[in-house]
Amino acid sequence: MSTAGMVLDGVRILDLSRVWAGPLAARMLADLGAEVILIEPPVGRAGGHEALERMRQMHQAGRHFPYYPDGDPGDQPWNRMGMYNDFNRDKLGITLDLRYPQGQDVFRRLVRISDVVLENFTPRVMVNFGLDYAALREVNPAIIMISMPGYGNSGPYRDYPAYGTTLEQHAGFSSIMGYPDSGPYRTQSTYTDPVASVNAAGAVMLALWHRRRTGRGQYIELAQIEASVCLLAEPLLDFAMNGREPGRNGNRHHWMAPHGCYRCRGDDAWVSVAVATDAEWRAFCSTIGSPPWTEEERFAGQSGRWQHQDELDKLISAWTVEQDHYRAMHRLQEAGVAAGAVLNAREVMKEPHLRERSHFAHVTHPQAGTHEYPGLPVRLSDTPTGRTLPAPCIGEHNRYVLGELLGMSEQEIARLLEERVISDGPIVE
């Protein structure tokens, strides 16, 4: 399955994770060449049958579901869902019900021939299956296991529900995001999820490195909220030093000025600009045609600009509002000023810089069609990265994994199907 000459050739990863944080971590490792086997319960993806049936009826009545190709969930929505197909591309997929002893047995046999187990259940789940690290280590002493619970395996909030949509606020991201006169804001990216993903991918690489040098496996516990608080050290230390909870500052910065998001010509068009030094300020002024106010003494130095930001922002907006957002960005950047057009999803997908760097992966999925997906943001000069395998349809690789990798007979596989331990499609319960 793996492409010759990739970093993680010959490394096999069992991915039990759901939704985002875990699946993206496993995909980053798949993009380095690991063979990732996604293990799903036969009960299916994206809710029960009833919900899917309702969705089909609503689609027939004219409703558009943007996470499905052309807004159409189709007859097998579980194989057409965009987020699923994105986070799980480059993986193999099997179904396996870990609630049954037979399912646990198959899992243990897989652990014997694998290198990494990745899961993001709440802490009780793997223990209840009898598949915690202590149990897996008995089967394979060199196994690396990573768990990614929201709050960790210990502490009073251990068993609290934890979603990206509540963790990012608890970690503190929302408290520092918002308009100066508003309350806190969600990030719209449930930011603790991707934070946990990238940390987890790095943690697994470190464990694989350690194992390559020492032969030893290990257990990694990644509490998503802790990995997130690590990225909030500045406001945290300000509080520790000064007891201060700085308010929300909109688009401003604690020392740069001007630093903001300015309206441009057109509908909902904006450009963000950040000026750090006096040299950049002079470059900014000449780019916008040096109107008389740019000569004012109070704007000449950084602290003056910072103190007079309200006026500065109004004056700058008078220039930007006449400009195309992309054009404003290019003119400022060419003069050495940090500026970025505020791009929407369509513009991001057309971005010439990303195109030139071939950032997006083109992937053809048998049931969802051909789409472009964001690629691996890390490139190695001598080793290929990134692949273009579609996400597996549910149960697609049951026979390859159970038959070829585990050497199970057709009869054994048939029995598991009959006992509903595995399935070729979602099972309705």
Binding site: Q169, F173, V198, D238, G250, P377
Partner: protein, 400 residues
């Protein structure tokens, strides 16, 4: 018995942003010897960025610098002089990793482009973190966090529909560059065990961010919809939002029908479940104002703490909107000993966030940040074999 996973890996860190510093901090925490190279006199820009005790700038007391450089060694070196560059090249020959976040053009001007340093040391892994990567039309454009949020689709969807788009929470684009660089550096080291050769790791902050809100991208590539700003209201289902409460705000995320039913029972309004305006997720979003008006009063009468624990008992996801500083006293983080007290000769003892993940075999080490030039003697004399007199001359010449 835990080991230092990166024992024996020597890293040279050169840069001006959070990205290289955060990656270096993680490598140092797992046992690499990270030598941070700073400009003589002024030092790393993070020394000037704060936060500072009582707001008073001091190069050894900047919170950002103290946190981002734990467990590293610090040297000073003037790369604008031939002698300084020569010393740096000598160090390159003794290192396993060169980690840098300068603009691509700056490394070329210094004569430290990848081809040149690889000639000096073919085993060297060079990790380069830049705003836009080592190629492409924006290669030499300037990156600041707000520009990163803007160009990658994050800012456009954050904030109110009738107001300006909002930047994200602090310098996350730079942190993402550092996190991805940690992953990429380890990948290059891992493959070097086989090939014996180093290579360049190219991390583009813009690309790091594009992949981090994929719901927005997928809505467009699959469904042809361009997501716009919707304030705090989540569009796929509802209520996933932020509500005001007695002493601040809480995040509420009752995304499944079962959780919604529990929520209605909890606030004493089970009839909401039968209200035709609120049956499907899209109905609740379309009628969100009326819906919020029914739920919000119950939240407004309670504190964040009460809501967090009461909702948990009902298995309704609801958390306090917290300032990160408040977590220092939180019993959960205390019990897990997440925050670590770090002593520093100038800045005193402060609590820092600890390990982002915990490895049973490889402990995380915090250490403290180096004083400016603290390890000059150790590195130049101990490692490169210069005498104390030569070191003095270098110092007088402004090289270090």
């Amino acid at each position: 018995m835990t080991q230092r996973a990166l024992e024996g890996i020597s890293v040279l860190e050169l840069g001006e942003g959070i990205s290289a510093s955060y990656c270096g901090k993680m490598l140092a925490a797992f046992g690499a010897e990270v030598i941070k190279v700073e400009e003589p006199g002024s030092g790393d820009p993070a020394r000037r960025s704060g936060p500072f005790p009582k707001g008073q700038p001091h190069p050894e007391k900047s919170g950002a610098f103290l946190y981002l450089n734990t467990a590293k060694k610090g040297i000073t070196l003037n790369l604008k002089t031939t002698t300084g560059l020569g010393l740096f090249r000598e160090l390159v020959k003794t290192a396993e990793v060169l980690l840098e976040d300068f603009p691509p053009g700056a490394m070329v001007r210094l004569g430290l482009d990848f081809a040149t340093v690889q000639n000096l040391n073919p085993r060297l892994v060079v990790t380069s973190i830049t705003g836009f990567g080592q190629s492409g039309p924006y290669r030499d454009y300037r990156m600041e966090s707000i520009v990163g949020y803007a160009l990658t689709g994050h800012q456009y969807i954050n904030g109110e529909p009738d107001r300006e788009p909002l930047q994200g929470p602090g310098p996350q684009p730079e942190y993402q560059g550092g996190l991805h660089a940690f992953f990429g550096t380890l990948a290059a080291l891992y493959v070097r065990e086989e090939t014996g050769r180093g290579q360049q790791v190219d991390v583009s902050i813009m690309e790091c961010l594009v992949g981090q809100h994929q719901f927005t991208i997928i809505r467009y590539t699959y469904g042809g919809e361009v997501k716009t700003r919707t304030g705090n209201r989540y569009e796929s289902t509802y209520p996933v939002t932020i509500y005001p409460c007695k002493d601040g705000h809480v995040a509420l995320s009752a995304s499944s029908p079962a959780q919604q039913e529990l929520l209605y029972a909890l606030v004493g309004k089970p009839e909401i479940a039968e209200d035709p305006r609120f049956i499907s997720p899209l109905d609740r979003i379309a009628n969100a104002e009326a819906y919020d008006a029914l739920l919000m009063p119950w939240f407004k009468e309670r504190t964040r703490e009460e809501l967090f624990h009461t909702c948990e008992q009902w298995r309704v996801p609801c958390t306090p909107v917290t300032h990160p500083g408040e977590l220092l006293e939180d019993p959960h983080f205390r019990e897990r000993r997440f925050f670590v007290e770090v002593e520093h000769p100038e800045a005193g003892t402060l609590p820092y966030p600890g390990a982002p993940f915990r490895m049973s075999e490889n402990a995380w080490q915090t250490g403290r940040a180096p004083l400016l030039g603290e390890h000059n003697e150790e590195v130049f004399c101990g490692r490169l074999g210069y005498s104390r007199e030569e070191l003095c001359r270098l110092r007088q010449g402004g090289m270090i």
